[in-house]
Structure formats: C-alpha cells, structure tokens
C-alpha cells in the first residue's frame, strides 16, 4: 500500500477467473477506484481483461446482497445471521432425518 495525500495504491489479484491477474487499484477519497493492470506483477505483467475493472461495479452494486434474506409470499425479507443459520441447519438436518443422507445435493457450477 502506497499512500499519498488523499489517494493510495492497493495491489492484489483479480479473483474472478483462473488468469489471476495482478491489478493496481488507486483509491481516492476512500471509495473512488481506478483499476488497472499491475505492470510489476511477475505473472500477468500488466495485462487484464474487463472483468478486473468491473470488480468495483460488483462491490458498489446496489443489487448486491449484504445481509441474509428469506423468501416469503410477500417477497424477500431481511433476517439476521443467527436466525438464518438456525433455519438452514434445522431444515437440512430435518431432511437428513426424514429421508437419509443422500437426499441433499450441493453445486458450485
């Protein structure tokens, strides 16, 4: 991290795909970001694709969820983490108990 008067540079990898490009993020006033390829990254050597630049669009996207939600007949309802974890654990354990362990699938496609 290099910090000047009111801006700083942050170095990291883009984690959006297997290319793991090195990026340089200039932060101004704590939140305005300028993302570019890091010329000194020994792996990607300054190259990036549009996904890396869009990391900030995801971070600041107003549609990105920042708390757990439950689906109800009246739409999505905000709930607390403790309540959410409890409900998920109880429901999954209930299905284990009722049907057996091979009835729960997981995917990360």
């Amino acid at each position: 991290m290099r910090t000047t008067h009111n801006s700083s540079l942050h170095y990291r990898n883009c984690n959006l795909c297997e290319a793991i490009c090195g990026i340089e993020i200039s932060v101004q006033a704590g939140q305005r970001l300028n993302i570019r390829g890091d010329n000194d990254d020994p792996f990607s050597r300054g190259y990036i694709c549009p996904k890396a630049v869009a990391l900030q669009d995801v971070h600041y996207d107003k549609d990105r969820l920042k708390f757990p939600v439950r689906r109800t007949t009246n739409g999505w309802q905000r709930i607390g983490w403790d309540e959410a974890f409890d409900e998920v654990a109880q429901k999954l354990k209930g299905i284990h108990a009722k049907y057996g362990r091979n009835h729960v699938y997981a995917s990360g496609v």
């Binding site: 990291r12 297997e18 993020i25 932060v27 969820l65 983490w81 299905i95 049907y99 995917s107």
Partner: protein
C-alpha cells in the same frame, strides 16, 4: 512446462488433495458415472424430479447460476421450484437463487483477503501472491468460509445451537477506509 505452486495439490498428502476417481458409483436415474465424487450437472434436474428412494429433496448452491449456465436450464428451473428446501450462498438474487428459501451472502471480493489455491496449478509461470482485503467488511458481513464453517458447526452439533459470537479471524485490510 508445468508450474510448481507453493500449494501443490499434485504432491500434497492424499487427505488434502484426493487423487480422483471415476465410476465408483452411478447416478440414480440414468446411471451416469461419478467423477471425483461429483456427477455431471445434466443429471441434476431428473434427480430432483424423479420420485423414489434417493430423490433429491434439498439443494445447497455455493456461487454459480446453473439455471443460466448449464444445459436445459429451463428444466432445472422447474425442478428447483419443487424442492423441499434450498439454500444459496450467493450475493445475488438470480435465475437460480430465486428458488432458495434462504440466501446467505458473503463479503465482496474487495472485502476479503485472497490466496489462490487452485489456479497456480494451471498457470504458465511459478508465482505466488497474497492479496490483502482492500475494504473493511461491514459489521454484519460474513466471509464465505465463515458461512460454511458456521453451517457445518450447527449441522454437526445436533440440537445444540451456538450461543457464542460467531468466530471471526479475518486478515485485516492494509488500510481502513471506513472512517
């Protein structure tokens, strides 16, 4: 030609990195072979929709959007609507997670540290790099590993729910921009 990652699944102990498998067991409906413990996603919708012993009743998604990204997503869309329970660890309501009963959103990429365990294996140069978090996550935010650990803990301790504060051992961002 091949990289030598700092964390190398090829030379790691068996417990950390399984050696892979094929055809040890088969899917229920159309008998497709498993590959390293996973089934092809084309078998998913029919495993949910076909009644009988072994029918999928609950579904956990961890990122991804298979209704949009896998073959015959329309059938999967229909199948997910019939599940008894679905939970998604995802930061968006999308074509897939709209069927979840509960969505648990993790922190954004810029709010967490990152060290890539998988892709150095496929890279063309041997390098290593840890990325610290840029922003401090919100008070009420959970990293994806914290979400998985908490679910595992609550599933494991049957009937015993944790009352202690949620475990948190994050690597702090290099600079705190929240002030």
């Amino acid at each position: 030609m091949f990289t030598l990652p700092a964390f190398d699944p090829v030379s790691a102990p068996e417990g950390l990195a399984p050696r892979g498998s094929f055809g040890r067991w088969h899917s229920r409906v159309r008998k497709l072979p498993e590959f390293s413990g996973e089934l092809p996603v084309v078998a998913l919708a029919e495993e949910i929709l076909t009644e009988g012993p072994g029918q999928v009743k609950a579904f956990v998604t961890f990122a991804g959007n298979p209704v949009l990204s896998t073959p015959n997503g329309r059938e999967l869309d229909h199948a997910l609507a019939s599940l008894e329970f679905m939970v998604s660890i995802d930061c968006y309501i999308n074509e897939t997670t709209r069927h979840a009963h509960i969505i648990l959103p993790p922190t954004s990429s810029l709010e967490r540290g990152h060290y890539d365990l998988a892709f150095h294996l496929l890279a063309i140069r041997s390098t290593t790099k840890f990325s610290p978090a840029l922003f401090q996550p919100g008070e009420d935010a959970q990293d994806d590993w914290e979400i998985l650990l908490e679910l595992q803990t609550r599933m494991k301790h049957d009937g015993l729910l944790l009352s202690a504060p949620l475990a948190s051992k994050r690597v702090e961002p290099a600079t705190d921009y929240t002030d």
